[in-house]
Symmetry: D4
């Protein structure tokens, strides 16, 4: 509760419009639904701009369903990430409105928010990075962003990037997704004047260390204007990009 | 050179307005000043929105001066980061317009761009994080951003953060700077609806590993909307924040 | 054998009450049952306050049964941790008194000790941390501690924590269990005046490194009064907490 | 502010005893002293049981003095850790009541709290671990704990430990401090029935990795009842031990 | 497009031989085939000397087939690496000209280029390194290199190496493939006067860390003239060796 | 070939007793059997004291059989380590004299050498370390060493160790095998006056890092006289111990 | 000694032209000069193509002088790398023919070999990488290679690279030197058809980890034809490049 | 106290020859001299074969002197390792019988034990490894071992090793000391039939990681019969080698 709201509430207590008990409840209350194994955060949209997202890995299908049903009262699209197709089938049985995006390994319950005019460019270095890119794209589209996909333009054939540079430069914010050595982020960062969010992927072998190399590359980029999220975190990149795109 | 510009130029070649040699020069040219030890990139402001920044570490004072003198023709503020006071003294002897910010270890040559209406909040967990915060603040101010400083509000005394939450929530973009375990980023991220750029600092000892712990904390945050830059990279965070703030 | 006991024994030797052979046996003896593949430590309860616990991973079902049967002579509850359901089934066939706690992946043979008045609070950041929390809770309850469970109050929705703060503050010792970036330990540590034992979990992906990130976060906490155990070591946290709770 | 206190306050607003403005201030207020570079947390003793401690590393002498002077209004002993003798000299010039403990590299302003009857045993493996042990001992003594020092009883000559086992077993909580391979924690842990807090030190070379090896040893101890703090964190171990000793 | 080609083209525009539109297309064009999930780089042979290679891991069989079909228009042998036998069967159904090399886990579509006179020596330390060696050998043979295989001559029985030294010394470039501690690279490097490319393999256990140890050994070799590729990267070593052999 | 043997041979050439061709063959020859995928080292027993050992992991059953058949001409026991039961079954079909030791995961073809009078003590910290201990014991017994097994005497119940100290002290060389934190090596090392070879095992979880923690503990032991082998390398420890025992 | 030489020598023994003693000496001899603290390898030029190089770090000036004086009998240029100016001054006092290259931190005694027609391109990403580049360039020039220096063409301003691409493409072998994220190697590798040797430098901060990030980037490059040397190893890259250039 | 000694003592108690008090003292006593900052272990020679060694790093000169003076009552040579020349000067002022070995950074008080007939070979790969080798050699000589030094025979010029192989093969135990990639241990291990103790040194740069690479190489050696000690631990290798040599 903001400082100013609190003053108003206390005025109402002083004037008798609100009882102390009701005011106390209001002051300490937070819109949390306690369902035992989860404290569902119903205040997140107001506080963070988007409703709570369900991270599917490490939760049972029953837990996912329970949380989703609790969130449904908010009339917002519900996003479930890192969801295997097996768990999705169980979820869909309980919540038939759920749609699955197999490449992205996400489900959405409800309708995506209307798309923005400005767009987010989702760029990948290789074909193998597409699943992470789709997690980003589905997240962004669910939260009301237009998305342009530019896939497989890594630096081994840099003219592929230059061919698509116009559409990248036209975006309000750019997400660059790359595994192996992750050099694409630096190259794109040197060519644009918009915020760039880099996503390392776990594509590679040997000293790639499941994406650590690409992460380090991106954190140490010689180009400015690049920020980074966790390995394979397409969702996180899109969430931040959506915040920026909606500014 | 954009596709459309190129067509126009070729029309001029076809019509004889431009000779093939001049057109060739124009097509391949890029605004680079070759000073031997450096290829000064004079096209960066047009391409990236801000002029080239001089990273002072690992360059001699003579090299810094040479690059700065080359950049001066652009009539833009020149930022030099990671600059020791000894090197600054040598720089100032050659470039008297240079101003030093000792806490930030930066110098600026020329006048900062006019400040924006919206502001960037620069938040630190502790007193020891202030040098990195000042690098961020000086960078942001140089590039025309209003900055609000909120220092020493780490989670060990979390009410310090709540006291200042209004000013943090009022920002267009928030930079959170923390060493040790870096938990402040997650807590702030859970309380705001604006993009948050997290900067780990090398403050700590033992298994802090010179900031690696705070970096990992920030990359793995359970709060959404957080992107991360390299350890102690106040400049990088401010550069991205400035891009966002100017959208 | 303590100094004073030894003096008494030697007096008996000197007075002829005890033969040198018997005294020698008593001096060198320790209550160990040698069953070939294990030296079962029957003196542990006297020495450490609790009987030996069987770490189920890396032992065959036959070995677990053999050790458990040897421990049974002590009339104390026997705890088996990290026990798969397959191994439990074999154990139960031989020891029908065994009870399995599937979420905790523990079995208990015998009756839990009577519960203390004071309680241990077991707090998790997320739903996915519950299995580790249950390992802690079952361990604590087996050894005679009242337990309060406070699950899914991570910092992404920090008001969830404040809602439950009273019950956390009422504990004699608090166990905080968190994966991902593990920031909950610092936040709770800053709000209580009781010992806090932090348990990192392996929940997360990418640079979480199977719980290493949460561990580092907890070791570097800016809040005081926090000690840490190994990743996913719910048992170890509860064992220490039980020692403290019984002081 | 606790739930019950808040209800009482609101009753006073309703009855007119307290104005809404005053109540609002009280509700949102927290005892923080803002001195620019620091938000001094004056509520820590009430919240955590001990006043705020000043971590000296990474702060200037002027900052330390400013924070200490702010804390002095609380009439509690002020502890400054990781304080070089140079900085201490500057601190003492401003705050003559400060006492320096050179081996511990700590200063205390004010009088230690009265010592408890029960004691904390501070045990080291080697002579080189004594500085960390003294940081722990001075911390514990400042916060009102009797301390027994048992130094240089590492496992290379294990009978040294058995010679002193009685005094270790008599403690209410035991701190074990060891560098190199840190095996002493496991051995002591197997011999006592009290909580043990292990402190790895950075004593060693090569693959000791500045204490990382001892830390890993302690986290993976085969003995139960051991919790761990950061490398060289004598203060943190003593702070937790003091909490336990005062239960 | 090279500087000189561009001048020639512009002369043609100026003289009317080429229209501006055609010239623009030619200037910006790059021989890329866009097939949605991939931007197939048809210019690679001209630019890099060899056609694009398909890295099979992380791509679906359908994607591999699509890319291979696009590359077939170039009339060059197509190499697919890291290809499981399951995926190969799908590929062969669509592209019957494909041949599988099971030990190398590669497929080749089309005929290998004619073999060079000079040869590449492919040397392994052990029998277990042969799969990586075969990936190297098949790659080299596909791109027109004669290959001599010298397998299982590791330093534990160093006379095995001396027995085969003549054939190693006769090569134009030598590839040394070793797991475990990887010492063979240093020993061979000290005995030859030709470039040596070292390939660490993931053969080993414990602190081998899946080939990291062999990689570090090779990077730190006391012998000169050794360069290194990623763990198990037989393809990459052969690609570079082929470039050298064809000089 | 030794210096003195070479002189004798050359004398024979000079006197015409040996032809230059025969002498050349003898000088360059080394007893290697080339079977394509392996250069079987038949000189190892003469050079190293024991015949070549077959490391089973990473070799096919056919390769193992081929190497074993080649080694059989030496009339020495052949040891195959890291051999799965599936591969053993294939090996035994071809070489019926092979015996399998399932706990050790080793096979031996032929009769063990006669046992020495002095013995090697093989000591484990826990029950889970027994497979590595058996690999060591079988290796030692195959190469003619008497072995005493002392299992499950880890430091959590240190009196278990003291009970068996006499037999440990009676050995000529001691192998200590421990997982988790590996502290047993230091404790034993402080109590004996014989060489101690420490073997870390991969038993543990979380920050055990598959045996790395125990390895680091052992390398940094505060006790002297300890040398270390790779994680789980029971074979290597026994091989060195056998060399020492046979001195 | 090669097989064929040995046969010839033995023929001479048989015919009495060479005594057995002389032949024995010749067979076992290797051109090593024993100077106590060093076994100077006088056969290296014949064996490896270049004389032994003196690695200056970790040797005293007296040791360097002694080794250099021994090597001088070979009438070849002597290269000393990693030589501080202080040690060089001592070396020059004893060996006045020595020349120092301060940026490269190398000294050369004697005259460089005549330069080749084909050249090695030495490319750096930044100004701060120049010292490593000069180590490479001085090494290459000493061993008879023409060198083209292309400095400060990193990917943050990628047109700087395109401006110099012609001279890079004209080289017989290319050395790419980069710190920070090291992306330049991938970009250059995608644009040329010659062998590329990548050198990571320790330029950077935070998660650069003293060049480890750039090393990993280069090892995982998505472009083919890249091999890598140790961090800051300009000498090693040039040594290999020289071997290739002289093929 | 051994089992048999205890029985004899108890017989004396029973027969009245020894009082219970005296027997109790004897049973619990261990020859420890408590000097406050150290528990000097006077029983180590009897228990471990050699007197306690003083590790000089991390101890003050006063502490070293105090411990040395306590040890002097044993009439055995006292070894102090890792001793700076500054501390040695202070030690020598108090203990004039001390001799300093500057290359080894060791001091010895008293006379070395008489040298054995059999010898320990101390082998180094390079000149820079000599300080570690001298620590090993001085340790071995102090404890009564003949030592043969074979320095600078690394694998880059492997014939240097073959030249000295006879003296290496003649040793009873071999210590191999190497930095950089540490390959020498594997090569020597493949050529001898005696125990080999490998010592990695911190000589190297970049990915050598202060000796970690050489350590990993040695732990993963493909040659058998190699055990390893900590980086730069010449003392530890010699201590174990001396135990073996005296068997």
């Amino acid at each position: 509760m903001e400082q100013t709201e609190m003053q108003a509430l206390l005025q109402q207590v002083a004037s008798g419009q609100v009882t102390p008990t009701a005011a106390g409840a209001q002051l300490s209350q937070s819109p949390i639904a306690d369902i035992g194994y989860a404290q569902v955060d119903l205040g997140r949209q107001q506080r963070n701009g988007f409703p709570e997202v369900i991270y599917g890995a490490g939760k049972t299908a029953a837990q996912i369903i329970g949380i989703a049903q609790t969130l449904q009262q908010q009339n917002q699209p519900i996003l479930i990430t890192r969801l295997s197709v097996e768990k999705f089938n169980a979820v869909q049985a309980a919540l038939p409105a759920a749609t699955y995006y197999p490449e992205a390994r996400c489900a959405v319950i409800g309708t995506a928010l209307p798309a923005s005019d400005s767009y987010i460019a989702v760029v990948t270095a290789g074909t193998s990075d597409i699943p992470v890119a789709e997690e980003a794209a589905v997240t962004a589209e669910t939260y009301g962003n237009r998305v342009e996909r530019i896939y497989d333009v890594g630096v081994a054939g840099i003219q592929r990037l230059f061919n698509r540079l116009d559409v990248i430069r036209g975006a309000k914010v750019v997400i660059v997704i790359a595994g192996m050595e992750g050099a694409l982020a630096s190259v794109v960062g040197g060519l644009i004047d918009k915020p760039l969010i880099a996503v390392p992927t776990s594509i590679g072998y040997g000293t790639n260390f499941q994406g650590l190399t690409a992460l380090l590359t991106m954190l140490n980029s010689c180009a400015s204007g690049i920020t980074v999220v966790n390995v394979d975190n397409g969702f996180g990149a899109a969430y931040s990009a959506s915040m920026i795109n909606h500014l």
